[in-house]
């Protein structure tokens, strides 16, 4: 099916827009050039609505008003979309026209009243266009199945999301649906079930005619068939459930890994505890050092440090007195002590009766005769002498106040640095811990563990069911052989036997055909998809750290991206935007080619996130004319000027039809010319990617080297 033209009236800002689509085999591309906000999405939606009605629109858009926001309140507006398309059946091409019309009356505040939408499907005959018999919705659905609309009508972001966004399970489902629909495999499955039903009926009829024994065998066979059917169904259900569990498990694992990459909560808590302990120790040391400072400030050592020269000068005065013998060389107390101890400071023996003792006693007696003043001087002298000796020793041993001060200040500064650093480290760790929601980690761990248990359980069920199924199939096979032998022996009517045999043959044929188609087609699609994808991105060096080795469509309908070194890339997280788009487009194109499905491929801004070589190769791949006997196809791209940039020549080679959409909302900021219209509207003109006109000229068209096209239409 190929679009030929569309005429859109009063759909959003598309007041009266006619579009033409290329149906040339060698120029399969139609370009609709349109900047953002110029009505691209409206055209896409109009086509979907025209073909499928409101259900054809994305779910969020089904209840939104379709008339322009500028339409006057209370005035009914007729919305109409006419789509002309052609279908090639065999060697014949037939033209059709879909006309969908609906009245919508704006009621203010974006509310509206809608009439029924009326649909006509007409076919061109020798006498003009005639209504096609039957329900137009059914016929259109046959030509272009609605469940494939997201494959055929899409925007660039949808293209990206097809491959990723809901994990492997979502992707497999979408891929499987696309394959089934495009290869028509569902029809065969239904035919297979119908034939199974016929086989059973024929067999029952044959058995009934032959008597109770054969009937019993037939009933047993029928029961086994039923059991196989039920077990098969159960197996499919459990497999689907296991897929869903696997998706959930993978999602939980991913979330948990992300949380854990912030850091192991237990390790972080342990680190925090250690740092808190260290901080407390440093703070305690801080206090100790301050206390040390206070003690030092008030010490004798500090006095000597500050006033040393004055103290020494004073000491000299007393020392001279001592030198002259004016004050004694030893204090009275010391002399008394020494006499008590019976030993002199110089270790001389001062025992009773000794000469030394007598000398000291004489000295003591003389001292006691010295004046009180001298006595005081003596006290001062001896105290000062001790202090001086201590000071000098401390200076030598670097335990004097000056040395101590330096040490304690350095230690204090270093400790303060440690406090600061530890504080900062603690802050970082606390923030880190706060970002790990313990509760969430626990929940995810539980969820993961549950999912793993359920997965194991489901795997076990699958194993059990597969064994059961194999056993049932074997029993069925034996029962069937037994039945057929008995049927032969029972001399059932040949007609009945033949009918049953023919039905059986048909059933076998369709089963085998279906199997081959599925496996074979999947393989063909896989190969073609790989060729196309690698052609587009094979040398993509923007994909950091990974070089694509290829892509495969697996028998389980998953798309697997192989990277260098036997690894795989997860399309959800490890493939960049441009590559995701290339992957989806390659899959769709491959599927279309293998299935021979001819349907328009309409993509709104497909080239976001692509540039340079990838962009060129992508456009080249999706617009390359079909080779040899490959069916003709049609691709419609909505492109902005910047998407067109760098690939103008390629587009020139491939394009069969071009138009440009513009919206007068963009005047005067972007559009150069004011239109003769007082309300917002989208117009189309026939400008190609190289041209501009009074309708579509934009302020920066110079940058794209566009030339003026005479006049405008639209």
């Amino acid at each position: 099916m190929r679009l030929v033209a569309a005429h859109i009236r009063n759909f959003k800002l598309l007041e009266d827009v006619r579009l033409e689509f290329s149906t040339e085999r060698d120029r399969p591309l139609t370009v609709i050039r349109a900047e953002n906000g110029s009505g691209k999405t409206s055209v896409l939606y109009a086509l979907l609505w025209g073909l499928y009605g409101p259900q054809g629109l994305p779910s969020g858009a089904q209840t939104v008003r379709l008339t322009s926001s500028a339409a006057p309140v209370g005035v009914p507006v007729e919305i109409q979309v006419i789509v002309e398309f052609e279908r090639v059946e065999g060697d014949e091409s037939t033209s059709y026209r879909v006309i969908r019309t609906m009245l919508e009356t704006p009621k203010g505040n974006d509310s509206f009243e809608r009439g029924q939408n009326r649909l006509r499907l007409l076919k061109r005959t020798t006498s003009g266009f005639e209504d096609v018999p039957g329900d137009p919705n059914t016929v259109i659905a046959k030509f272009l199945p609605p469940r494939l609309k997201s494959v055929f009508f899409t925007d660039g972001d949808d293209v990206q999301r097809f491959i990723s966004g809901e994990g492997m399970h979502g992707r497999q489902e979408r891929v499987h649906e696309a394959i089934k629909a495009l290869l028509g495999l569902d029809k065969m499955r239904i035919a297979s079930e119908d034939l199974e039903h016929v086989v059973s009926k024929c067999r029952r009829e044959a058995a009934q005619s032959a008597g109770a024994d054969l009937e019993a065998l037939e009933r047993r066979l029928a029961e086994l068939s039923d059991q196989i059917g039920r077990t098969d169904q159960e197996l499919a259900t459990v497999r689907t459930r296991r897929q869903a569990i696997a998706s959930d498990r993978d999602a939980a694992q991913k979330e948990l890994t992300e949380l854990r990459s912030i850091g192991d909560i237990d390790a972080i808590n342990a680190q925090i505890k250690r740092l808190e302990h260290s901080l407390a120790e440093f703070e305690e040391r801080d206090q100790t050092l301050l206390e040390d400072m206070r003690t030092a400030i008030s010490s004798q050592s500090a006095s000597w440090a500050l006033a040393g020269s004055k103290l020494l000068a004073g000491f000299d005065v007393l020392d001279k007195l001592a030198g002259r013998g004016v004050i004694p060389g030893a204090s009275l107390e010391v002399l008394v002590d020494r006499l008590d101890l019976k030993k002199c400071i110089c270790n001389a023996d001062l025992s009773d009766g000794s000469t030394a003792r007598r000398n000291v006693e004489q000295l003591l007696a003389e001292q006691r005769k010295v004046s009180e003043h001298r006595g005081h001087q003596t006290q001062t002298f001896h105290s000062a002498r001790l202090g001086r000796a201590e000071y000098l020793a401390a200076c030598e041993g670097k335990t004097d106040f000056v040395s101590q001060r330096k040490r304690v200040l350095a230690a204090f500064a270093a400790n303060r640095d440690k406090i600061k650093q530890t504080g900062a480290d603690l802050e970082v760790l606390r923030e880190k811990r706060a970002s790990i929601d313990d509760e969430q980690v626990r929940r995810l761990t539980d969820r993961l563990s549950n999912a793993q248990a359920k997965f194991a359980e489901a795997s076990e069920s699958i194993g059990r069911l597969e064994t059961q199924l194999a056993a049932l199939r074997e029993r069925h096979s034996l029962a069937k052989a037994e039945y057929e032998t008995a049927e032969k022996a029972a001399k059932v009517s040949k007609l009945l036997v033949t009918k049953r045999a023919v039905a059986d043959d048909l059933k076998q044929l369709i089963t085998r055909t279906l199997q081959v188609l599925e496996v074979d087609h999947v393989r063909q699609v896989s190969v073609r998809m790989n060729d196309m994808f690698m052609g587009i991105v094979g040398t993509d060096t923007a994909q950091a750290g990974a070089v694509f080795q290829g892509v495969t469509l697996t028998p389980e309908f998953d798309i697997v991206v192989r990277a260098a070194g036997e690894g795989q890339l997860d399309p959800d997280f490890e493939v960049n935007g441009a590559s995701k788009r290339a992957l989806t487009l390659s899959f769709i194109w491959a599927l279309m080619e293998v299935s021979g499905q001819v349907a328009p491929r309409i993509i709104d801004t497909p080239l976001g996130m692509t540039s340079g070589g990838v962009k060129t190769r992508m456009v080249d791949a999706i617009t390359r004319p079909p080779q040899g006997n490959s069916p003709a196809y049609q691709v419609v791209l909505f492109l902005t000027r910047s998407e067109i940039s760098e690939i103008e020549s390629l587009i020139d080679d491939r394009v069969g039809k071009s138009q440009t959409l513009s919206c007068n909302n963009h005047y005067p900021v972007d559009l150069v010319h004011k239109w003769d219209c007082d309300h917002p509207i989208v117009r189309v003109c026939g400008c190609t990617i190289r041209q501009f006109c009074e309708v579509c000229e934009r302020r920066y068209d110079d940058a794209h080297s566009l030339v003026a096209r005479g006049g405008h239409n639209g």
């Binding site: 206090q287 206070r294 004798q300 006033a307 007195l321 005081h376 105290s383």
Partner: protein, 146 residues
């Protein structure tokens, strides 16, 4: 050593009233682990005196009405070495006979203390961490350190 202290026991010890009111709370506290550099006012007075000696200048005492008594010389019994050092300072100033007159020794000490208190007021006014400030600023007056 008790004899060393006894001439001073009845001598009064003073701080300028203005200084006492402004600074004593900031600079003196018995509690350990605080920011105050001095446990007792005698420690403050003593360090001020030694600072005055290091600076090398004596400042006359204000008039008695501008002084507040904080203790007597009996307080020296806790640290008798202070008496010896005080007398050394006086001996260096006035010679051997000065230590016969405790009040004269103390007068010399007070005048040096006034100098030191002025310096402390200047350097520590408004300081959030006076111990640290004092230990650091001492650099400027320690002989041989600047």
């Amino acid at each position: 050593m008790a004899d060393l202290v006894s001439p001073y026991v009845l001598q009064d010890l003073f701080l300028p009233r203005a200084f006492d009111e402004e600074f004593s709370d900031q600079l003196v506290s018995r509690a350990a682990g605080g920011r105050e550099p001095f446990a007792r006012k005698i420690d403050l007075w003593w360090t001020a005196m030694m600072i005055g000696v290091a600076i090398g200048r004596r400042t006359p005492m204000p008039s008695p009405d501008k002084l507040s008594k904080f203790n007597t010389g009996a307080i020296f019994s806790r640290d008798p070495w202070r008496v010896a050092n005080l007398e050394l300072v006086a001996l260096a100033e006035k010679g051997e006979s000065v230590i016969a007159d405790a009040s004269e020794v103390l007068a010399i000490g007070n005048e040096y203390a006034m100098t030191g208190l002025e310096w402390l007021a200047e350097e520590l006014r408004g300081s959030a961490q006076p111990i640290l400030a004092l230990m650091t600023e001492m650099n400027a007056i320690l002989p041989g350190e600047h």
